[in-house]
Structures are given as C-alpha cells and as structure tokens.
Amino acid sequence: MKHTISILAASAVLASSQAAMAQTEIEFWHAFTGRLGELVAEQVETFNSSQSDYTVVATHKGNYSETLNAGIAAFRAGEQPDILMVFEVGTATMMAAKGAIKPVYEVMDDGFDQSKYIGSVKGYYTSPDGDMLSLPFNSSTPVLWVNRDKLEEAGINPDTDLSTWEQVGSVLDQLKDAGVDCPMTTAWQSWIHLENFSAYHDVPFATKSNGFDGTDTELAFNSAAQVAHISAMGEWAQDGKFIYAGRRNEGGANFRAGECALFTESSAGYAGIKAEAEFDFEVRPLPYWKAVASEPQNTIIGGASLWVMEGQSDEEYQGVAAFLDFLSSPEIQAKWHQDTGYLPITSEAGDLTRSQGFYEANPGTDIAVIQMTAKEPTANSKGLRLGSFDQIRGIIDEELEAVWAGDKDAQAALDSAVERGNALLRRFEQASR
C-alpha cells in the first residue's frame, strides 16, 4: 500500500474538521471489466485504506455507451453518482450539459496545479481558457504494431523503416507478393485513419478548431489529404493488402492470432497482444505521408475521462477532490501506465516510469508517449469536440465500408460522411442551445 503525501495531508485536514463523522461515500461509475476492472478496484481499495474520511464505491455500469446512458438517466432522476466515466467522444455532450457537471478545476482546491498534466492528454478535456473540465483517466493513442516473424517469412528485413505510409505501401506490395493473406488490418478505423490522421498531418477534421471554439462547427475531413489517404487504403483493400475486419477492434483477434503482418491499433492493445501473441512483435510510431507533411504533428488520444456530476454535498466534493488528486499522483499513475499501456496523465508519472527502468525492460512502450508529446499541439491536433460524435463515427464507418468494398470512391464517401455528419451536428447545436 503506497500512501502519497498529498493524500495524507488532505485527509489530515479534512479529518480534523469532521472527526468522528461517518465516512462520506463517493459513488464512482466506470466502464471497466476484466483485468482493467481489477486494476480500478485495486486503485479504489488503495485509496480507501489510505484515509478514513471517504469511501469510494466503484460500480461497473456496462460498456462506455451504457455507462454514459446510466449516468444521464440517473441525473434526470436526481440519482447521479459523484464521478462518471465518459469516453472521449462523449466530451462535447458532457460539456454542453452545463447544469449537470461540475468542472474538475472547480472541484479541486486552490492548490490544483493544472500544468503538471501532459498538454496533449488534458487538451482534449479543457475549456477554451485551458481549464480542465474532466480528469483524463485512461488515454491511449494509435500506433503501428508489427509482426516481425511475418515480415521475415516474407523475406523482408523486420527492421525496415515503416515511418511513412509510402514505405508501408511498398512493404505491403512485398507482403502480398510473398503470399501473405493479411498484410495489414486495423482497429477503430475512424479514430485512427481520419481523426488521428488529420491531427498527425496537422489538417483540420472540423472547422472552429475541431469544434473547440463552438458548437457551430462543420466537418472538414473531406479535404485533399484525407481523401488521398482513404483512396490509398481503398486501393490496398481492393488488392487484398488491407484486410478490413470490423468497426471496433475485431482486427486485433487476427493480429494476435498471427495472421496479419501490420496492424494499426491503440497503444493500449499492448497487454492483450503481449498475452496472446506467440510471435515476435514490435511497436512503431503511426506512419505519416511524406507527401503531405514533412514531419508528423502529434497524434490525439482516445479513451475516457472522469466527470464530476453536479448536485452533491460539499463533503462529497471534498472527497472527490481527494480521490482525483490521489489518481493523479505519480506512483498511482506510473503503475497504471505500466500495468495497462495507457498513457500517463502527468509528466512526473512518465519520468518516474523511465527512472524505474520500465521502458528499457519493455522496449516500444514509450513510443506512444513520445508520439503524443513530441510537439506542442496545434488547433488541429488538440483533439475533437463534436456533438453526437459516437453516431458520426457510425456514419464514417458506413462510408468507409463503402470504400473498402469498392462501392464508392474516397472523395464521394467522405463528402457524403461530411454531409450526413453535419446534419447531426446541427441537431446537437440546436439541442444544446
């Protein structure tokens, strides 16, 4: 059990003010199960035994979308939890709900130092003034996973440079010629090949700084750069060089089974790949198009953050602040980062991980961190703040499938996705007016 100094200090202050009172219960709804669920339970347990004023009660409320809906339904009935986990695409929905949420920077006490959080991680969840509205919890970013054995089998040097899509393209040709059935697959196509693609090449995904500057934003991912990429992917799909396995991370099963040579997927896929892959694998930075950008900008995150709900007592908010502070402590963050492959949310946690020798022992685990933090984010690479975005992703999935199937060309598909997505954005704008 590690006790952090800040927690002890906080609890000492609070303990004196309400000694002998019953413990305040903090309700925390999350979407994690399995191994991640156990790690969350462990964090909560550590917090609960580190002090005696608050008890955090963590409850699993289904997957991301079920958890968000449970939170919404509960709020409408006045039964909301103190802390709700919301996936990154729900950010705009939560932000627009002004009377339902209490921004994290307001919950935390005066000593709250927002600068210790990594810019490109917290950036997704800050107000236009740079104040943190929610606390990033689990964040990951897409990388390129390589099955080295498969490359070797195909007579390709497994150390070959794969930093640009141009290079990947020629490796795919070689793999195909060598008779590999699945040269490349992907998970989360919209997140990786449009959202991150846009940030990585510093082109807008939507107007108004990707929606950060207002709900009157319009989608803009049908410009030349994105069309060229989707066009290339479409050709690869037609030639059997890119195998589409599904909208979520179905491709992961193919990669882990050793079927596919290359796999674009979240850095958080690490634990699963390590557990199941029986081949020599490696993490590489996400490729970029040399023709579009001379060097890549940063990638953006996916995952979830913790939102504090409105309408609770002051004691509860003090407890929430103590818990969020505890989660941000370097020890807890470093452990979380190392156990899960999710990005650390503070630079201190990253430094601690490095000094513990973790990156040396597990080569490639720092690729995601570097890729995220190498450059200061621009208006195009801070993140996305678009309403109804889970549904817009559904539309993008549909249109991309039309490209992979050869039914539409990239330009037509992206134009149509933009048009349909804009209709949803207008409805969201109206709903949150």
Binding site: E27, G34, A253, A275
Partner: protein, 284 residues
Amino acid sequence: MAEQTGMVEKRGVGLWLTHLGLIIGVAFIFFPIWLAFVASTVSQPEIVRPPMPLLPGDQFFENYSKALTAGINAPVALMLGNSLFMALGIAIGKIAISLLSAFAIVYFKFPGKKLFFWLIFLTLMLPVEVRIVPTYEVIANFGMLNSYQGLILPLIASATATFLFRQFFMTVPDELAEAARVDGAGPMRFFFDILLPMSRTNIAALFVILFIYGWNQYLWPLLITTDPSMNTIVMGIKQMFPSGDDIADWPVIMATSILAMVPPVIVVVGMQKLFIRGLVESEK
C-alpha cells in the same frame, strides 16, 4: 392404437429419415451451445489460435471454478440468486394479473372493455428500451432503484400473457360457464373452481416463457441496479466482456454463460411435459 402418437408413418425407411432429419436439425441448432461448452473446457490460447478445437479439452474444472469465483461486482452465486428471484417475480406477477384481466375481458361485458383490451395489447409494441429513460425516472421517483420491485414491475407491464390467456379462455366451452351460472355460482367461484384448474397446464407453459423472459433481461437490470448485491447473472456475463482494447477471457466467459443457461434449461426441461400439455390444451 393407444401407444401411437404422431402422424402415422413411422416404420422402416421413413423412421430413419425422420431421425436423420432431426439429427441434422439438432446439429445446426445445438452447435453454438456445443461450441460454447467446448470453449469453456479449453485454454485461452487454444481458442484464439484458429481453428479452435471442436471437442472438449481438459480445463473444465479450472475454468468453471474460476467462473464461479470470478464475478466482477458480485459473486456468481449471488447473481444467480438475484436472477432467480427476478425471473420468479416476473413470471408469477404477470401470470396473476393477466389471468384476472383476461378473465374479465372474456367473461364480462363492461364499459370500456374493448378499450382496455387494446390498451393492454398496445403494450406489446413498445419495447422497454424505447421508453427506458422515462421508465427509469418513474422507478426512481418511487424509490425503487436497487430493489426487486424495480427490477420486476416495469417488465410485468406487457400483454403477452393476457393475450395467450384470452386465446385460451375463448376456447373453453361455453357450457361450463352456462352450467356454473345455472347452478348459481358466482363468477369468482367459476374462476377459482373451474377456470383456474383448467388453466393449470397453461399457466405452467406461461410460467416457462415468462421465467426465461425475466432471466434473460439485461439492459434494464444494468440501468437500475448500482448496488452490486442486486446484480443479475446476465449482467455478470456481459461485464466479463472488456470494453475498448482489452482482450476477452473466453474460457471463463463461456463457462459462466453455460452456468447461466443451466437454471432456465432445468425449468424448461423439467416442465416441458406440462408445458406442452399446457399448450396442447390451449390450442384444442
């Protein structure tokens, strides 16, 4: 002749063809269950590297003991208990109210009868999920979150049972009611002494249907239970599926799924004779 059932033709080649047809049918229908069972007896690497085996492996005890202790929020035994209570509550509650209202609709003339019939019938047509947020608010206002009433009552508000009892009562010979009336027996005497015993097997059939309906609920229990001690087993299974990029522990998930099938299968198999008799009598 007393021994004979079925549609005659049951000798020689015809008999073997019948068996063959059934075996093919069963093979298709039962295959997914078989595969789930196989997956629950092998190790994770055997499943994730294709092709997975088609015959059971040697990890039965490991996986099942893990499943029994692996509940995410609550122990599996407790979740099974909650599911049982919920399923029984739904089955018994719905049968009780439906018997009464079907009796009223079939055997009485009263103002608004047609309207009531249609109002009840309309409930067949709007699934819980569509009205889930307002329903949640009603339950919360009654203070029924995390309670068995909250789990049970909204799911009783549907017309399948009323519809089926109505169908059955329509087929009960009018002479019986006529005789009861001539004897001076009141409607409730007729209901308890004649109609209810006649409906015995029918009730059994509905019990099975409703028990399984209740047992298989997922979204509603997920929404209204925050207290882990109120979780149900289907929730428990879904909770084992990771969200995002984590991997699924297939052997344990499949073992839990098989465990969750056992109680409803016992109910169906145990009551199938009565169930079929119940349906037979209702359709005569």
